[in-house]
Each structure stands twice: as C-alpha cells, then as structure tokens.
C-alpha cells in the first residue's frame, strides 16, 4: 500500500480508531503517543505534503502506440485492443480523408444558428444545397446535426448526403447515430439477407435486385411467396414498381386471387400501369360500355360528344380487378355541388382510372388535347355530373400511367376544376421545363377558391419562374383584400411559400409588405377591421420575407 493510500485509509477511519501513518522525513514524526486530535493535525499536514508532491509529480502515462494507423474504421475495440500495458489508452484510429471540402465559415455559422433553432425548417434545404454544391458539414457541427437526425427520420437522407466521411466515422462510435452507417445504398448483408433479414432489409434487397435483375427478384419471391404472411407479401409485391414489365403480368394476375386484400389491391394497381396487359383489355371493355362517342347537333353545331353512362351493376370480376363495391372516396362530398359521389360514379372513376389511355385515342381517333375538350353528356340523367367523373378518371389514369401528353391536355384544358388536387398531382408527370408554367396556369384557375391552398400544398418546391410570379400575384391579391377569409388564406399561403418559393421573389414581396404597412397606417382611422387585417397580413408577409431573405443568404453562401 502506498504512503498516500495509508493516509486515505487512516483519514476515512478516523485517527481515533487508527493512528496517523508515519512519514519518514516529516518533522512531526517521531513524537509518539499523541492525542487523536493532534494525530489528525499531523495526518492533514502530511497529506498536504503528499498532495502537492503527487500533483507536482504527475507522470504522463504512456499510450499504446502499436496499431497506430492499422486499425480500420469501425473498430469498436480500439479502446481495448493491442495495448502494450494493461489499461494504457489506445489511440483512436483516424477518420478517412474527406473528398469534398467543408462549407465556408459563413455557411457553417448559419448552419450553427439553424441547429440552435433559428429558422429550423430550412435545415433540409441547407443540407441538400450543400450536398448539391459538393460541400460537407464542418466537423464541429456534426454532433448537433447527428443528434437532430436521431429524432427526425425525415432528415436522415439529407444528413447522409452532407455529413461526409467524418460523419460516418463519428457515427460508428455512438450507437445513437447508427442510422448514418449503412443508411445509403447498401441494405446490409450479402445474398443471404433474403433468407435471414428483417422485413425492411428484405424489401431493400428486393428493390436493389429489381433494379438490376427483375426476373431474378420475381423468382426469389415466388419461391417463398406461399410461406410469407400477408403484410410481408404486400410489402414485397410493392417492390414490383421498380422495373415493372410485361414479364411480371403472370405473377400479378395470380396475385389478384391472393388471400390478402392489400395484396390483391396492389396487384391490380400494378397491372393497371402495365401497357398491353390482359388486365388493361378487360378494363377497356368495361370502360367502353360506359363512355362512347356520339355525334350530336346542338344549336346548329355538329360535334362529337362524350356520352357517359355509369355502370349499373357491380360484379365479382370487377372486384377481382380492383374495383371494390365501395371505392375510396365514393362517400366523399361531391365537390361544390355537395352530396356524396355515390357508388356508381365511384365505379366509373375507378374503371376509367385503370383503363389504358390509348383506349380513348383509338376510340375517338383524336389526340388527348382534343378529347379532353369534347363536351360531355350523361346518357340518362341530364343533371348528373358525368363530365367530372370522366375527367377525374382520366386524370387518375394519366397519373398512374405517367402519361405526360394526357397530363398536359388535362391541365391545359382547364377541366376537373372542382378536384384540383388531382390536377396538381399531374404536374409531377410533366417534363421539368413545363412544370412551372403549368402550375402557374393551374393557380390562376383556382385563385380565389378555397382549394388554392390544397393545390399549392401538392406542388413541391422550389417554386420558380412563372409559378413564383403567380404565387406572388396571389399573395398580393389576398393581401389587398381586407376580409377575414383572405387574411386566413394569406397566412396559410405565407406558411406554405416560405420554404418553397425561390428566394429571388423576396424583394417583390418586401415591396408589397411595405406598401401594405403604409396603407394600413394611413387608413387606420376609418375602420378597425382594416388596421387589424393590416397588421396580421403585414406580419405574415414580414415573416415570409424574412425567411426568404434567410434562405437567399444561405443559398448564396453555399454556392459561393
């Protein structure tokens, strides 16, 4: 036992139980038979001497230098392995060199502010913009960023792209951040993952296989198909959307008989996307019974009409092909006219949504643009909303079959205005160059309509070009009308626009906010309402312009 430890033991027990140890060169030593209190004083004096000795004489311990650079990444045992002396610290293996530069100091400073909660919603945009510009998050901010990704799954893909190699290196040392490791392309494990993996791992495996060898993936699934539980069958079947081809038809047709309802639905949805399938032909037969061209003369004008007659009956075969007795949305209010859509209209929409669009170009002998513009009449009931059902059915079909020509026709034709969400979804099918203009057109169609917000919600950012102009114009329109309804629209609109509108629109909005502030300031005396709406509207606009400015500076820093 060292001298110091003897002192600690004696002090713990107390000198009344154990005498103070003797210290060879201490002056007080040698006097024996002291009182416990004197002993205590002596013990403290000796301990003081030893303490200063110990502190001043601190010797650096050696480190295990062996295996300095050999330990690769992910050696969790870096702290325990190959130490020359037991307990000696082992060097932490260096992180691999980065191949992209870190973001500039200014950009990093802004990221630090975002991570602390300022404009936190722009975080994904910062990360995406950095990755797009070939930059990574500076190492010092990684711990906070990885911690954010721990609680927010949506953020993880963006973190993976911007965290650099240092991020992975760090995540390997903290199990809380394990999501960063292997989150990219590799689902983990080799070919045996299909036999042994979890459902998610097996799905990832199938998706990867569908990308390179769709037939192989199909055969792998066929082997275990009968033994898989229904939710797994549905999850695996969903991977068929990758690399879907006519070769899958047989498998999908069989799946239409599956015990699982979700599996059957999924199979029919996939078949509906498959051009030239037997399924498509069956649907086309049904569809032709409901929709037919007819040449009519109305007010002296001879023209082709689209005559609609919703199916009168539902049968087993329809159900087998994915048109349920109560299709989704058949109880939904029927747009502005009110009242539920009804089962028959629901069947019609479902059938049309699943019918190959080529059916119509063949039947009418016209391009989609002209078909969309044809007048529609109901065969039986003059007041029925057949036109809407047809257009909605076509819109859903265009979305499902990813048919840009039909999408363009439906958007330009200005039809289906009472279900504008269906149109908003079509924007995604258009070539990127057309999207802004088409979206702008759509917004002008629905402006002043409560659907506007729901439409905008479905248009992903960035809103630029004509679309940005249209949004600014809409904001201006809403801001200048001082009723409560517009006030609500305006605040909602601002909230939607702050992350999606391109920051270049900022100055125009600032001018608008400024004009609004001065106007409400001068007109305040006449009515309380104007002042009230003025402040709410200006505040919302201010918030929006601040966010846009923040994003503008952010993107400038990241592209510099």
């Amino acid at each position: 036992m060292s001298t110091w430890n003897e002192h600690v033991t004696a002090a713990l027990l107390g000198t009344q139980r154990r005498p103070a140890p003797v210290l060879a060169d201490h002056p007080a030593t040698g006097q024996t038979a002291q009182e416990p209190a004197e002993q205590a004083g002596r013990l403290l004096d000796q301990a003081a001497l030893l303490t200063v000795q110990r502190r001043a004489g601190h010797r650096p311990s050696g480190a295990a230098m062996g295996g300095l650079d050999t330990a690769g990444l992910g050696t969790g045992e870096a702290g325990t392995g190959q130490s020359a002396a037991a307990g000696a610290p082992a060097l932490i293996a260096p992180a691999p060199a980065e191949d992209v530069p870190a973001a500039s100091d200014a950009a990093a400073g802004r990221l630090a502010r975002i991570l602390r909660g300022e404009q936190i919603r722009v975080l994904p945009e910062w990360l995406e913009a950095a990755a797009a510009n070939g930059l990574r998050v500076p190492a010092r901010l990684l711990p906070e960023l990885l911690e954010k990704g721990r609680s927010d799954r949506m953020l993880r893909p963006a973190i993976v792209r911007a965290a650099g190699r240092r991020g992975v290196w760090l995540a390997l040392q903290n199990t809380d951040w394990a999501y960063l490791v292997g989150a990219g392309d590799d689902p983990g494990g080799g070919p045996d993952v299909w036999q042994t993996g979890t459902r998610n791992q097996r799905v990832a495996h199938l998706i990867r296989l569908r990308g390179t060898d769709p037939a192989g993936a199909r055969e792998a699934l066929r082997e275990t198909w009968a033994k898989e539980p229904a939710p797994d069958r549905a999850a695996f079947l969903a991977t068929f959307e990758h690399g879907l081809s006519a070769d899958d038809e047989e498998f999908l047709e069989e799946a239409l008989e599956d015990r699982g309802k979700d599996v059957r639905q999924l199979a029919s949805d996939l078949l509906a996307r498959l051009p030239g399938s037997a399924y498509g032909r069956r649907m086309a037969v049904r569809a032709r019974e409901c929709v037919r061209p007819e040449v009519r003369t109305v007010r002296g004008r001879r023209q082709t009409w689209v005559v609609v007659e919703a199916p009168h009956e539902h049968d087993e075969d329809m159900a087998r092909d994915g048109v349920p007795f109560h299709p989704t949305g058949s109880f939904a209010p029927g747009g502005r006219a009110g009242g539920p859509v009804g089962a028959r209209a629901g069947w019609l929409r479902e059938i049309l949504a699943r019918t190959p669009l080529t059916t119509w170009t063949e039947l009418f002998g016209q391009p989609p643009m002209e078909i969309v513009c044809l007048p529609v009449a109901d065969a039986v009931d003059r007041d029925a909303r057949g036109a809407r059902d047809v257009h909605i059915g076509w819109a859903r079909a265009a979305l499902r079959q990813r048919d840009a020509e039909w999408a363009r026709a439906l958007l330009k034709g200005g039809v289906v205005v009472d279900e504008p969400e269906a149109l908003a979804d079509l924007l995604a099918i258009l070539p990127a160059a057309e999207r802004d203009a088409a979206a702008a057109g759509l917004i002008r169609w629905v402006e002043g309509n409560p659907d506007l917000l729901r439409v905008l919600e479905r248009i992903p950012g960035p809103w630029s070009g004509e679309l940005a102009d249209a949004v600014v114009a809409t904001l201006a329109g809403a801001a200048e009308r001082s009723s409560q309804r517009y006030e609500h629209t305006l605040t909602q609109l601002c909230r939607l626009a702050d992350q999606r509108l391109v920051p270049e629109a900022g100055p125009r909005l600032e001018a608008l906010a400024h004009r609004l502030a001065t106007e409400s300031g001068t007109g305040g005396g006449t009515s309380g309402r104007v002042v009230g709406s003025g402040t709410v509207a200006t505040r919302a606009l201010h918030e929006l312009t601040e966010t846009l400015r923040f994003r503008h500076e952010m993107l400038k820093e990241l592209s510099a």
């Binding site: 209190a37 403290l44 295990a64 000696a88 610290p89 932490i92 293996a93 040392q173």
Partner: protein, 444 residues
C-alpha cells in the same frame, strides 16, 4: 460582389455574432434577439464606432429606441423588458455585427443618453476615488478588527478539519450538504470569503467517484492554508500575498492596476470556462503571452442584469498590457491597456512533458493552485478501457481528460493531431478549445 472590399477592414472592429449573443442574460433572450435582428423591424439605425442606435418596431404600434454603448458595453432601450440587455439591444447589435448598420451621426436622443451616461460614470469614478482615499485613511482599526476575525475563523476551521479526520471521513459520504454550508457560512462571517467558497464547493465531492482521495487532498490543503496564514509574518511577501488572496482578502481593481506587475505582450486568448454558483456566473478567460510564454487568468463575474465580459474572444490575439494580481505565482490579471486590435491567431502548443514541468514549477510556488492552463500541441485522442478519453502527444505521453461530452472534440479531431487548450486540475484535463488545421478554432 455586393460587399465593398474595404468592409473587410472593419470586420475585426465589429463583434462576432457569438460575442454579441454572449451578452444575453439567458438563452431565451438570445433566441428572441435573433427574431428582432431583422432589418425590416428597424429604422433610423446608425453607428459611429462608439455606439450603435436604432428604432425598433415592437408588437403593436409601439416603437422602441435602443442604443448600445460599445465601449463598456452598456445598453439603453425604451422597452418595458426587465431583462438586461433586452432583446432589442441584442438584436440591434446582431444587425451591426452582420454589417447592416451604416455609419452616421448620432441622433439627438442617443447623443443625450450617451452624454448622461458618461457624466454619471465620471461622477461615480470621482466618488469612488474619494471613497478610496477615505477608506485608506480610516484603515488601521477596521483592518485590525478584520485580521482578528479571520484569525478566529481560521482557527475554528482548523478545529473542524481536525475533527473530521479524528472521527473519520467515512461519514462524509452520507452527510448532507448543510454540513459544509454551515462551515462556509461561519467563514463568510469571519470575512474569509474565498475559503468559504472553497468549502461550499466540497459538498459535491463525496458524490463523485474516488471521493476519499479528493476530500483528503482538499482538507489537507485547507489545513496547509490555515497554517500558512498563522505563520504569515514569517513568509516571503509574495507567498503572503498568495495566502491572503486564497483566504479572501481581496484587492480592488484600482490597486491592482496601480501596483500590480505589468506585462506587455501579444496575448493569445486560449480558452474560456463559465461556472455558475448561486446565480453568480464566473467566467475564466485563459491567456498565454506569445513572447513571455506566461499564462494569465482574467476573471469576470456576471449577475442578472450585468453581462459577462465578452471582449476577449477565443482564438484571437491581442496586444495588451496586463496588470497581475500579486502573489508567489502570479496568474490572475486585469487587462490594463489594449495596445492594438484583435486578430485571429493560431496557438503555440507545448508537449505534455513540458507542460507538466511548468505545472510542477507553478505548484512549487503556489501549492494551492487548483487549475493551470495547458496548450498542448499535436496531440491525438486515445481511449482507455472504460471509454475514458486521453490526449497523447507526439512523444507518446498521455494525460486523462475530464469526463465531459466528448463528441465535438472527437468530431473536430477526427483521430488526427490537433492543438488542445484545457484546464489541468486534479480530476484531469478539462477541454476548452481546440485548434485544427481544417477547422480553425473550435470552442468545446
């Protein structure tokens, strides 16, 4: 492109964002300040190098006039907030820090306030000076009374320390905090405030691993201080100063400025640590002289309503003359005079062996030293069995790190060599800042 080239010259004069937010009385105020720091909310802003002012659109119709005197710094705002500085003052400084406040002449209200302030400051300085001379004239009797009180208090502490060791330290593990608080309170009554703070801090020791060693060390060093104070007449002057300051005899700043040793150097601001006790925040700023190689410690104290000193920014270097508090191992100092502007700089590191030798020499002069600043060059991080971190230098020597959140340090180092600034104490090295080639200075 939009920035004029000459704006770079002003950057060093304007404070950084972090520096401004460092003034915030609490995190909520810092957050709110970010919201106020929007050009759209402000009008009539301006600065003339000494002060920044502006009018802020508050909620509703109210407009607040805000002004910050940069020399102190001091703030005034017409808003009703009781936080100090308020979010408007902080927001204004943030705008200024971003470079969005243009130069201009002071408006009447700002000039008036600044003038009032200066006058008040001068008057109080005069009063203080007058009081100082007064205090010195009636010194002897009060001083004598205080000496006696301290003697009695220390004798009582000595008795208590010996009692602890007589009955055994084992009972400390279950003792309530009150046990140390009572002793500390009696020391406050005896006007031995520094020692009182030391005792109060001990209450937490028995809750830490390895506490018996630590507690005995602390008790032993206190006993050493008591004994040294009892023998003060036989000690050399410098050591006597050390003992007196460790007991709690304080020196006024004026005295230090007037009598303290002056050292002129380029001082590198190595690290900062804030600690809080009873609503009082103590900020330790560690400096290192480039020429002299001397360490220095600048303390500042923040209470609600008075912000901490933010004038020394980690990772910068300032040419200045420091005035050291007297003692056998001078360490604490005041910035007596700044002789140049601050500029970003890189630290000079030493090896672990050199650092330990320096620390041993310092302990030989002042055995009560609880922490000593380390600037270690090209160290790497290492891990020992129970996930405890160490730094290892190029010679293979290592020092243990105090257990803290290691992630930022790990992230910055990436396992590669870097320069580490820390406080070395009995429980290990507390990392304060790191300097890495790719990352620059990072505060930990």
């Amino acid at each position: 492109m939009s920035d004029p080239a000459d704006s770079f010259d002003n950057v060093s004069d304007r404070w950084g964002r972090e520096q401004v937010l460092g003034l915030a009385p609490d995190p909520a105020a810092a957050q709110a300040a970010g919201g106020v720091a929007r050009p759209a909310k402000w009008s009539e802003t301006g600065t003339d190098g000494e002060a920044v002012w502006g009018e802020c659109q508050g909620s509703g119709k109210s407009v607040y006039r805000t002004c910050a005197d940069l020399t102190e710094p001091a703030f005034r705002c017409s808003c009703p907030s009781r936080k100090f500085p308020c979010k408007h003052a902080l927001g204004l400084l943030l705008l200024w820090s971003d470079g969005t406040v243009g130069a201009g002449p002071r408006p009447g209200w700002a000039a008036e306030w600044l003038h009032e302030r200066r006058e008040r400051a001068e008057k109080s300085a005069e009063r203080k000076a007058a009081a100082g001379t007064e205090a010195k004239t009636k010194d002897p009797k009060t001083a004598e009374r205080r000496e006696r009180r301290v003697d009695d208090g220390l004798a009582e502490l000595d008795q208590w320390l010996r009692d602890q060791v007589t009955h055994g330290l084992a009972q400390a593990e279950k003792a309530p905090y009150r046990m140390w608080d009572d002793v500390a309170r009696r020391l406050v009554d005896a006007q031995a405030s520094a020692l009182a703070g030391q005792v109060r801090g001990l209450a937490a020791v028995p809750r830490q691993p390895g506490w018996p060693d630590r507690l005995l060390e602390e008790y032993a060093l206190m006993r050493l201080l008591v004994r040294a104070h009892q023998r003060r007449d036989r000690l050399p002057q410098e050591l006597r100063d050390t003992v007196r300051s460790r007991v709690g005899f304080t020196l006024a700043q004026d005295e230090v400025l007037a009598q303290g040793e002056r050292v002129r150097d380029r001082w590198y601001v190595a690290g900062v640590h804030d600690s809080e006790q009873d609503r009082l925040t103590t900020r330790r700023v560690w400096l290192r002289g480039r020429e002299s190689g001397r360490p220095a410690l600048v303390l500042s104290f923040g209470v609600p309503g008075r912000p901490l000193d933010v004038s020394l920014v980690v990772g910068t270097e300032v040419e200045a003359e420091l005035a050291f508090y007297p003692g056998a191992q001078p360490l604490r100092a005041l910035v007596a005079e700044r002789l140049g502007t601050t500029a970003a700089a890189t630290p000079d590191g030493t090896s672990i062996r050199e650092f330990l030798a320096e620390h041993a020499a310092a302990l030989a002069r002042d055995p009560w030293l609880a922490r000593w600043p380390a600037v270690l060059g090209s160290v790497r991080l290492a891990r020992s069995a129970p996930a405890a971190l160490h730094v290892v230098d190029a010679d293979g020597d290592s020092l243990p790190l105090r257990p803290t959140d290691p992630w930022r340090l790990l992230a910055v180092s990436g396992g590669a060599p870097f320069t580490l600034v820390g406080e070395w104490g009995p429980r290990g090295l507390r990392p304060l800042s790191a300097w890495h080639e790719d990352e620059g200075v990072v505060i930990l």
